[in-house]
Symmetry: D2
Subunit: 286 residues, 4 copies
């Protein structure tokens, strides 16, 4: 038996970049949080401290800023591809580059003025090797709520089951979703907007017998509307709203007064895919 090095990677996480673009008196801005992770022939530094293959993570940070100037940033998927291709092609020992970007939204208030949108965050994550390029887009923190049109009944009961069945409850979740693109090209801005719209419409319009049913509806809606998406993963916390028992105060509560619970919460996770989708070349995570 010997102790050996297994899979590994390293990089610079959370490089905070704001890129201002001028067009006459009007300015626009991109607000990105960029994380780079490289893997390849990196055994030496682990085993002997030989750093001859370890491009400094400080250099990755510099590259983010320099590329933002030289090439502009474009859509997050595009900027991530640009960076990932650079590391794979210029660093011989690097076989795989993974670049992830969080993009924070800003709403225009004037020619040079903005208000940050805090409602959700766009994410993009790409993996590039000499053989393939994989692009995943996504969203985190989109909180949706239906105040009715949600049931939960017909479930099995065991000796630890006390939950009553319900035909009318609040259904609320904070959408965390990632979808893998068929290819590494395309109109990522339009694709992103369309995916959000499809997911949101499905949430709103599904009469829900379970959050699982809503999840599948959201995922399949995205695949129906967006042919460029191969598969989608969703993680949907069930943000429980508990009906308050007001009977001690001689008050009825006809689904009017709720406790918004913190913990615990249900957590529903699922993938929706196409039966002819090519397999993902690299691991990807929600």
């Amino acid at each position: 038996m010997a102790i050996v090095l297994g899979p590994n990677r390293y990089g610079k996480a959370e490089t905070r970049l704001v890129r201002v673009i001028r067009d006459g008196d009007t300015r626009s801005l991109a607000d990105y949080n960029v994380s780079v992770a490289l893997s390849g022939d990196l055994a030496a530094t682990h085993l002997t401290g030989d750093n001859s293959g370890v491009l400094p993570t400080d250099t990755m940070k510099n590259t983010v800023y320099a590329f933002a100037k030289k090439h502009g940033v474009g859509e997050p998927e595009e900027f991530a591809l640009l960076l990932a291709r650079h590391f794979v092609t210029t660093q011989e020992q690097v076989e795989t580059a993974r670049v992830s970007i969080e993009s924070f939204g800003w709403e225009r208030l004037g020619p040079h003025s903005f208000q940050r949108k805090g409602d959700y965050t766009r994410v993009a994550s790409v993996v590039v090797t000499a053989e393939f390029e994989q692009v995943v887009s996504g969203i985190t923190g989109l909180v949706l709520l239906n105040s009715t049109a949600s049931e939960f009944r017909g479930f099995p009961r065991d000796e630890y089951t006390t939950l009553p069945e319900t035909t009318d409850r609040i259904l609320a979740t904070a959408v965390d979703a990632r979808w893998r693109h068929v290819s590494a090209g395309g109109d990522f801005a339009k694709s992103y907007a369309g995916a959000i719209e499809a997911m949101t419409a499905a949430f709103v319009n599904t009469y829900s017998a379970s959050l699982q049913q809503t999840l599948f509806s959201m995922g399949s809606h995205v695949l129906e509307k967006r042919p460029e998406v191969a598969e989608i993963r969703l993680a949907l916390p069930n943000k429980h709203h508990y009906l308050v028992d007001l009977s001690p105060f001689d008050l009825a509560n006809d689904n009017e007064v709720f406790i918004a619970g913190d913990r615990p919460y249900g957590l529903i996770e699922g993938t929706v895919t196409r039966d002819d989708a090519p397999p993902a070349p690299a691991g990807w995570y929600l």
Copy 2:
């Protein structure tokens, strides 16, 4: 010398309430986080453990939910006043009730569907005694950015000063503001909307020589537009955006590429008031 009890209070913090209101097939909702603090003749429980004057904090929580059903919630200021008056008038030993509410915004997506707005949080805080009622409204987490029209120069330099003067920088802040109302009545919804609009307009339209100047402009704009506001306090972190030095890469950086810094940050705090404003009857805090 004797050891004695000084000022004290107690209550239930962060009761999470969601109130659904139906109007035919359309539903609306209020999403509040309610904190209650009572003070008065409470020495006995501290000194001897005699709880005969200590209304349980659990009862305060129950009261929040029962009142939400019985009376509805209205604007946060109104619901806070309703609760505070109840505790002062029904509990003999309670002299002062302080009720604070965070109100989370939701955007309508359909007759019964909503998306949470994460951009900022509305707050209200009232103090009620037998003698007076004080109402404070406010906001937290409104992030604003001007990508130009901001300078910082003409400042004194001592032996530890290395900062260069600048005539063009990004100015960004996360607005935390509270404003005290002249009276405990009025149209709080309209007042709130107007105050936000006035603050935002002042931020956008002020050519800023310092964040202090912007702060005063924001505060005075609110007082100009809203006669029902007696005074306003603002705490504005200077969310620094550092220009990246790209010269090692033979690249210019004409205010295009910035590091969004985390810590440290400048913090500018100030009050704007009317010279004839009546003094605040109770302490209030930003």
Copy 3:
């Protein structure tokens, strides 16, 4: 009626400083988060953007680092005083300097190795003017729990009261405390250690009829043991542990199985003081 500038201050918040001190092969370290706020004759920058009295917050940051080298950091109270005196004496327009420090603890693992202690944070906050110096010490995040020896009964009941009386419950809190020193000198390390010890011992040894009683016991214990402390303020959240109803599963629950609740929570706040304590020259906050 005119709109006028009220109280204001500005400064640099959260300058993160790690200071390494060598003693032969052994090194020790101080890990501080320093916030500076200055006030005085600062109307001009607010009203006209004239910055001739606005020492840059960047300079405050530089001063923190330069002073850490020149003078060392000592106890947090001492370093805060050093900085505050500097700003008041060297900047004519500055009347009041407020310096607050969070100090993060590290446990020694070897001559140059350390493990961060995450259990609680020491804080110090000083105010310096030409007339006085005020020193406040404190702690945040010390979580204490008694698994028995806590009651809550004998409380008043109104129509919204459903809480049963209890003679045996878990009592848990996260101690947030600040205490004001009689003078600006003394052995702050010993004082701090003694205050923590006194508070903790009082929590452990008090058979508690209410968290208020425990609060007063903790505060008075500190004043009894530490003559250098004039008064102490405590904010104690009641971290509720709810007994789980296991009767649906034909199981008893003799104070064995609890839900650790998040929100809401009780919040007990109080001051313990000496009847001959001189009044605080400046405002101070828990």
Copy 4:
């Protein structure tokens, strides 16, 4: 082409459990945060809303509390196995149960009194099917720092590299580690303590040419000392401490005064394994 359901699971996350155990007048306690995720034949609820196979997540929560009473909680790995086996064996449609537990440490202050240790959190995560049982233990949030005995040099330089080589720097990290056990039995308390001790000793005693070298040293040390561990994964952020340039103030800085940086940070991730370790039967994540 058809749209189909892919991998999915659901469960109750973050059930907060405090279990008090009495032994005469002495009490001890376990403080767990338990998350359950089940997968198996769950297509119906996704596709048609048929919940006949969906054991409510509320029941999972009840089971956590009931089992804590009936069986006690033991070590986190044991309690996780107990719960996971229950769901797999009693719910026909469930093929795989994944149970993860965070365990928060408490230090004894008296027979019934405790202080929460905030320095790091123990975690355990098990996967159970009819075919296998997989146990992973771990830790999160252990912050370690060497104030010297760390270099970083000999690295490649490209056109974006500006970092100087260093032979003396602070090396600090927040250890996030998970290790997979060879079998589902054993003395988990002793194993856990031994793994922490091995990792910490390796961090302290390694003269480090790179954080990668330290990572491999930590991982291999655990495998050397703990034969029950098959492989270990570590994610080590490089918590950068930047030397402050004090030359503008005519001060030297011989590794004495540092800025503790927030973002960006290096992130070093790696696996250390045995060359004869059996493959993991289920996916596991750091």
